[in-house]
Amino acid sequence: MTTAVAISLVVNGEHVEANVLPRLNLADFLREHLELTGTHVGCEHGVCGACTVRLNGDIVRSCLLLAVQTHNATVETIEGVSDSGEIADLQSAFRERNALQCGFCTPGMLMAAQDLLKQSPCPGREQIREHLSGNYCRCTGYQAIVDAIEITARARAGRLP
């Protein structure tokens, strides 16, 4: 467990080569090795959702994956989906609706929300709440987040609220 392993992956469109200890989890790899600190660590046991990132297109808890498991994979973080403009409308809706307070859950929340909107273009409120039920927010009480996602879904579907 003490010998570093060479991994090669694509993070936010950039090729990354690294030597990592097998015990290093993906969240720590992103935060400490790549200094992508937008992926947050809230519980380190897969419950809070703050560390949600995309791995080969699917959202995962980066605290529950080892960095070595991402060899040859594609990882996208909040920094990547922000810079690409992929979630600009969702971020705008979060701003307008004040769907974040301290902001610590927000990167994970946005990753989870975008995942839902890709799967289901017009989710109802119950469906939105269900999809976010693995992302903990202590500040907002969730309603503003649900509103922002609902607004974004309608706008994307061409049905402005």
Partner: protein, 797 residues
Amino acid sequence: MTSAQEKSETLSALDRPNSYIGKTVPRPNLDRLMQGRGLYVSDMELPRMAHVVFLRSPHAHAKINGIDTSVAKQMPGVIAVVSGSELSTVITPWVGVLSHLKGLKSAPQSAIAVDRVCWQGEAVAAVVASSRAQAEDAAELVLVDYEELDAVTDMRTALDPTTALIHASLGDNLAFERNHDAGAVDQAFAESDEVVEAEFVFGRHTGVTLEPRAVVADWNAAEARLTIYQGTQAPHMVQNIAALHLGLKESQVRVVCKDVGGSFGIKVHIYADEMATYALSKLLRRPVKFVADRVESFNTDIHARDHRCKGKIGVKRDGTITAFEIDDLTGIGPYSMYPRTSAIEANQVVNLVGGPYVTRNYRARARVVFQNKNVMCQYRAVGHPIACSVTEGLVDLAAMKIGMDPIEIRRRNLIADDAYPCASPSGLRFEQLSHHAALAKLVKMMDYDALRAEQAALRAKNIHRGIGIASFIEVTNPSAAFYGVGGAKISSQDGVAVRLDAQGSVICQTSITEQGQGSESLTAQIVGSVLGVSMDRVRVILGDTDNTPYGGGTWASRGAGIGGEAALQATKVLRKNILDVAAAVLQSTPGELDIVNNGVVNAIDGTPRIDLSELARIVYFRPDTLPPGIQAEFMATRHFVPREYPFAFTNGVQASWLEVDTDTGFVKLLKHWVVEDCGTIINPQLVDEQIRGGVVQGLGAALFEKCVYDERGQLTNANMADYLVPMSGEMPDIDVGHVVSPTLETELGAKGAGEAGTAGAAAAVTNAVNDALRPLGTIITEIPLTPQVILTALGRI
């Protein structure tokens, strides 16, 4: 005086054309947080920074016979392994008492335990290494020889003579007791038609901030200065305490608070491990970072509530409430927390019970006892949920007893809206509350009668839905009466410095802090409104003791009311200073001029005269062109602290609509309503979101959250899989309405809103559950209302 002068003086600053006050505007600088480009303390790295991991006691109470660090010190990357006695050469212990809480006692507490540990989770050694992983590896190899002692865990027996003493020097396990007796309570009960009693039980729970507590302490030996980067609500308090116990002057300590991942009162205290981190940096002469992991958070972040409160209410057949009586018992862990103490919550319970109601007869006893459990202290809505649940629970029980509707009994007993100013039986002074207006609005918002009809129809189908109502009062805008009078060096005053820069933009430094409430936004809204500039020109600086005025910070629902008023007053001075110079430049008089949309205009018709950017250019770069004797002062500072009222009380009422599954014991929240009165509303959206977030924290306490200790003082659910918090799937939509009664103590008129939601949510839910179960003849007065509690009460298990 010209007519223009008259106009500008009679027109309130808040009524100006480009006012942001009262408007929903998005908070500035959210993109940083939404793009993952914030800077939380847990993100910080400094050159030569080391990481500390604390080895923590597995026992609730034990003697430390010895610590062997020799193997750990040989581990890769280890810089130091430090025991409590070694660290005590750098930092002094403290005692968490305040003089205004008469009789409060506690024992000296050290940054790291010396000789004895008093709760499971107390630090016994610090392991400092180049990385956190290396420190954790080495911590496993520190050998501690413990001799387990009897643990005091049940607060009901903590005062028994046969129970072990936690601190022999204190003589008993009683930290604090307060007794209060007002009016003629015995006579009132004797004259009542009905007297109802109940015992209310509140689980211990905690704040669960999503970002755990985090601190980077950086002692620069060459500067003889300590910089503390910490997610804190009160930077100047941290500065004072760190300096005091490290033997430094305050000027040698700078506290910087960047983005904070949730606080809710968890981060308004100073914890032993944070003190240890400051001391380790000084000892090791390098930056040291401590970030609690989630298990440590559950074991060491302050817990709250944990009360058992016996309550009694007298009522006449016409609904008149004759008296309240309570006997409250709470357990606070082995030490009173520092520097705010752990007696405040019980003290608040005594203050607040019965607060919304007319009756003058009130007797209370509160006792605060030590336990070998984690420390307990102030968390969002300190004492309010206890007082509100007891009061509103008793009111509902009284109503049930005499067969009166819960709304009606409140209508008959809430203090009349025109009865102010007045005082509560516990001596609280109310400037202006609006219980009846709030209740009327709530009844309308929720369509109470229709809901009752729906409830009755569903009951026929064996569906058990309930409506719960809870009126409440909330302490906001605390003056020095809260902490300062007891000797705590915690400022109740806040300050704001505001200046016009050379391009006509505004920089505002405020001593209140931001943890997501919107402090930055409300400050910019006030400054922009009063000055007449657009909000995007206002930059707000917070959270840095080197770069803001001295002040209290953001806690106890004080940021908007106190910091906001300081911002208003400072900006008024700046505005005057700008108009004085503008008048000289324009050969006019200040009274003939106004500032609108970033420029000086004629007050009378709005004709543009000179842009602020141009005026600033002249002042900063061509002052030689100003008339003789003119010295521009484009910076102004003002402070504010409430002096007339110790607290600006707010009020409100909440309602819960829910369904109880009597087979599974699950509660489904269907809807929640709040009407509250926080005075002047600066940003309606931010107020509503404070209310909603606060409600959901109260709902967590009502249904899910409890730190479960076993009889040996072991916390058995210290992780997020076993300690349940509200998640989106279980939470209802929450409708928020307002009544506006501005405080006249300030020009702004704002009171606090941050804790109102938490104050009354659990009471509304408990009352709704009891309303739902009424046909089954079951009353439950314990939270959290878990399926186990409900099924037990129903006799199903």
